[in-house]
Amino acid sequence: MNRAMVPLVGFLALAGLFWFVLGKMNEGEYNPRDVPTQFIGRAAPEFALPDLLDPSQTVSPSNMAGKVWLLNVWGTWCPECWKEHEYLIHLAKRKKVPIVGINWRDDADEAKAMLARMGNPFLKIAFDPNSNAVIDWGVYGAPETFLIDAEGIVRVKHTGAMNSRVWDEKFKSYFVIDGSAS
């Protein structure tokens, strides 16, 4: 090989590498902000928190045993949560997906006002102003959505807003074809 070619080949190799990694980052796979979750394949961490709408009731993951369900962490302070709210309502009402919410580090009145204004996609909402359950679930931002199977094992975690593309890619296959929960 011609000696003058060496820098050119080196440049092309580096350019190729950067192109590849940048592409992966755009697809989210190499996203430096995406912290890989520790919970896939693990039993869902237990908590017992008061229900936002009825504090005399307790919300617990074990209440959902035997069902495939979603756990969605949200707060009124989180713009991405406003964005996904409509889609969550679509999932709950049209596809009959059971969704339990964790209202995180929020003001109870503001949270209730948001649900009154935008609708309520949740079966139950655990009220967690002190991040107790949220830390046990390894949550570091909102919204985050987990899928828990009928055996109580965490199968999927999604960081960021839920939408139809994310649903199709990550969640849909855990539910039966007609869209309703198995």
């Binding site: 430096p32 912290v35 890989p36 830390i135 570091y140």
Partner: protein
């Protein structure tokens, strides 16, 4: 008199600012607990602003995780136990010093590999330069040099 009033006014403003700056006041059972707490929040990463540790970050999650750390230190949990609690939930990424395991092996030994490559390239280049300098004298100039030396001998 005016200067004095001004001075007092400025002092008051300064104190007001100092009072505004938020400082978390924590009480520890022992200096050993306090040290453990300070070590931990310096070693644990804030997951929100990822290039800050818990001690530096003002993010709400960092505040929550500091509180959790404080609670566990107060319950006399060891540094290892608390770090394990965080890794269990947030993964190795939460540690500023990643542990040595199969997925971080390259991270730990990478710099040494690069150093080794650099040094071996350097040695090769030096050797080649030296070899080139050795051969660079062609036969004609060797003969010319020899005859010059010979002529010197004859003159002597």
């Amino acid at each position: 008199m005016i200067r004095r009033t001004l001075f007092v006014g400025l002092l008051g403003l300064l104190l007001a600012c100092a009072a505004q700056a938020k400082v978390e006041v924590l009480e520890f059972e022992s200096p050993e607990h306090e040290e453990r707490y300070n070590n931990l929040i310096a070693e644990l990463r804030c997951l929100v602003c990822q290039n800050q540790n818990l001690a530096d970050s003002n993010a709400e999650l960092a505040v929550d995780l500091r509180r959790k750390t404080y609670e566990m230190v107060s319950k006399d949990k060891s540094e290892k136990e608390i770090a394990a609690f965080m890794v269990d939930r947030y993964g190795d990424f939460v540690l500023y010093r990643p542990p040595l395991n199969s997925s971080t092996l390259l991270l730990w030994i990478g710099p040494f590999i690069i150093l080794l490559i650099g040094v071996s390239l350097l040695i090769r280049t030096i050797r080649r330069r030296r070899a080139e300098q050795g051969v660079n004298v062609d036969d004609a100039s060797l003969k010319a040099a020899a005859s010059l030396l010979d002529s010197d001998k004859r003159d002597a």
